[in-house]
């Protein structure tokens, strides 16, 4: 029974473990849908009409990206295009609302529009109408103009999807225009920072240090990426903190410190960096200004502390990993380093990779329970309830939250031992979606907007 349930578990099952003195063996699996108790609006996105042959490929690209974005959001139901009426409006005057309201489309909302393209410019008119109130103003009406490139058309499609998601969700931050930083191995002993769109498109290399770059972290306003780098200096190739400016496309100076310096993370206001350094002995956590000045020690233990995650909402708590008790475990402390306390879990094992949700209430992490592989979990910081998001699918590590607080990006070996790829999923473990396919990709970090 449990075995068959686990097979289905990929999509619809999560495990809940409570602390209330319950033996760990008594886990139960519960069926749950992602839309539990919520009626989602049903949206159709008609094929956008090319106004000329030259606009054909961009019209289908635009349509597809908008549909993918809406599907991914999880806040609405996308009516399958195979159910659409044959007559597709290209402008509001052509809208025949009843055909879209009725079965089998059954849409509440319809998105449509057209593209005009010259060699120098593409113009996209895009609308979203409430088909049950077709005479009212459009819910969204936009004109996008820009260079006729795939990249630009993708950007416009993401922006249109952002508008739709924002309108239909009552202001939920959309992720359609967000990006994910990650680490790609490019040859033996070389790892560089890369960035891609949230949907895996537009993967491009950011650093070119011919060295090992690790653990990228976006600054809160998205203009910089702090990361761990190996940069040889005077014959010593030690781990240091590096900082990259997305605005200038260059590294920003950051001082070298003695020892091993790793895992930078940002304060919520973007004015400070917290990182691990062995500058005074064992690896401890330090906080400094973002230019590396005035480093202040935060942790004091006999082990190694690393992987700090600063609560982005309250700014008052830092989660981190420490092996002061013998194996890596999660700890919480105040942002000034006071009151460190271990986060107790109902079983032993390695507990790593803390990542706060945007609202500061949930802590995602990776946990390798005894006789098991690493899986992604989410803990409610106040109730300490835990939900397991992945299971029996290789090694799953390094969760990072989308700004909508509904999605998580992570790395997984599920496509084969020894190859790591980057995946997203809803924060209940459903809708896993692979973003990278070639090479070795790890350590994803989702931009904050």
């Amino acid at each position: 029974m449990l075995k068959s349930v686990r097979c289905l578990g990929q999509l619809f099952f999560v495990v809940v473990i409570l602390f209330c003195g319950r033996p760990a063996s008594a886990q139960d699996w519960f069926r749950t849908g992602t839309g539990l108790g919520e009626a989602k609006p049903r949206v159709a996105i008609a094929d956008f009409a090319p106004r000329s042959d030259t606009a054909k490929s961009h019209a289908s690209l635009f349509t597809q990206v908008v549909r993918d974005d809406l599907q991914f959001s999880g806040i609405l139901e996308l009516a399958s295009p195979s159910f659409y009426p044959p007559q597709v409006p290209t402008a509001p005057s052509e809208l025949k609302a009843p055909a879209w309201m009725e079965a089998p489309t059954n849409a509440n909302y319809l998105g449509f529009g057209n593209l005009t393209e010259s060699t120098s410019e593409v113009t996209i008119q895009a609308w979203l109408f409430d088909v049950r109130n077709p005479s009212s103003q459009p819910v969204v009406g936009k004109v996008y103009r820009g260079g006729p490139t795939d990249l630009q058309v993708r950007k416009f499609a993401h922006q249109f999807a952002d508008e739709i998601i924002s309108k239909l969700s009552g202001g939920l931050p959309s992720v359609a225009s967000t990006q994910i930083a990650f680490v790609r191995s490019s040859g033996a002993g070389v790892k560089e920072i890369w960035v891609m769109d949230y949907d895996g498109a537009n993967q491009h290399q950011v650093t070119n240090l011919h060295s090992i770059a690790l653990t990228p972290r976006w600054s809160p306003e998205g203009s910089r990426i702090a990361f761990t780098c190996f940069a040889p200096y005077k014959g010593v190739n030690s781990a240091q903190i590096c900082m990259y400016s997305m605005d200038t496309g260059k590294l920003v100076a950051f001082p070298r410190f003695a020892g091993t310096n790793i895992t930078p993370a940002w304060s919520p206001d973007g004015t400070q960096i917290v990182f691990s350094s062995s500058m005074q002995g064992t690896p401890e956590l330090y906080v400094s200004d973002i230019n590396g000045s005035r480093p202040q020690r935060l942790s004091h233990s006999n082990g190694a502390s690393m992987s700090p995650a600063w609560n982005p909402k309250t700014g008052q708590s830092i989660a981190f990993v420490s092996d002061r008790g013998g194996t890596p475990q999660l700890y919480l402390m105040n942002a000034d380093g006071t009151s460190p306390a271990k986060l107790d879990l109902p079983e032993k094992g390695y507990v790593i990779d803390p990542a706060w949700s945007p609202n500061g209430q949930l802590l995602a992490f990776s946990w390798r329970r005894p006789n098991d592989d690493y899986d992604i979990y989410v803990m409610d910081a106040s109730s300490r309830q835990i939900v397991e998001l992945t299971r029996d699918q290789g090694r799953n590590e390094r969760p990072s939250w989308a700004p909508d607080g509904r999605h998580v990006v992570f790395e997984s070996t599920r496509t084969g031992v020894g190859t790591r790829q980057i995946w997203t999923m809803l924060a209940d473990g459903s809708q896993p979606h692979q973003l990278t396919t070639s090479g070795h990709n790890e350590s994803p970090n989702w931009s904050t907007h």
Binding site: A26, P220, S278, G281, T327, I352, D380
Partner: protein, 247 residues
């Protein structure tokens, strides 16, 4: 499991999923633009840059090390053949002919350049019979560790005693002690653990009379395994403190 506890767990799950999926994020999120980092004042300082080659004269096929330092630069590049570099650092070059390297530093305050020349001599005549030199890599011994541990084991004590004897007999030799780990822990944890291992090796050698200023420690975590299989035999080979000659 009783029905009552089952419903309790279900309620708990619904609450948590509610928190995960529906509660937060709804309603416009107040976004306050974080204060921009304090940038350089109105008149940014002009960048400065230095570049040194050591040695400045090499034989064909040998390497020279370029070292540089800069201030107030956001972009640095060394030509020919090196390309973009960090604010300070060093790299090896092996020019086939005499070469003058130029580093260009660009920053908000302008540009600066510095040069260093490396002259390449014709191949040396065959060397006369060299004095017998004891091979570093055969005399030093790596120290191996238990899982999750940075304690010096009895077998490591033996290995490090031999290493210490060699280092004391070669007082001019400097070493880098690299801490390494197996693949099972996380990248980040292993960088911390590797640092503790390298420090433990250094402290043990200091206790055997090797001067601390001859030893530098670094951690590579699990980034540079010597063995790539996924089994304990391999993992043990990777959990090590390794010595590299630093001069």
């Amino acid at each position: 499991m009783t029905e009552a506890s089952r419903s309790f767990y279900r309620t708990g799950l619904a609450t948590l999923l509610g928190a995960a999926l529906f509660t937060f994020g709804c309603g416009p999120k107040k976004v306050t633009a974080p204060p921009k980092p304090v940038e350089a004042p109105a008149a940014p300082a002009r960048p400065t840059v230095t570049l040194q080659a050591n040695p400045t004269s090499i034989n064909k096929g040998e390497s020279s090390t370029l070292s540089w330092n800069s201030t107030d630069a956001t972009q640095l590049s060394i030509d020919p053949g090196v390309g973009a570099v960090t604010a300070e650092g060093s790299t090896k070059v092996t020019p086939s002919d005499s070469t003058t390297y130029t580093i260009t530093a660009t920053g908000p305050g302008g540009n600066a350049t510095a040069t260093a020349a490396v002259s390449v001599n014709a191949p040396p005549p065959p060397t006369p019979t060299p004095a017998p030199v004891r091979d570093f890599n055969q005399e030093v011994r790596d120290a191996y560790f238990d899982t999750d541990k940075a304690d010096i084991r009895p077998d490591a004590r033996e290995a490090l005693s031999k290493t210490a004897a060699f280092l004391k007999s070669e007082p001019s030799t400097k070493v880098t002690i690299e801490g390494h780990c197996d693949e099972r822990g996380s990248t980040e944890y292993n960088l911390g653990l590797g640092d503790r291992r390298a420090s433990a090796v250094k402290q043990y050698l200091v206790s055997l009379g090797v001067s601390a200023d001859r030893m530098t420690t670094v951690s590579f975590g699990k980034e540079k395994p010597v063995c790539l299989e996924h089994n304990e035999t391999c993992w043990q080979q990777n959990r090590r403190g390794h010595f590299a000659k630093a001069n």
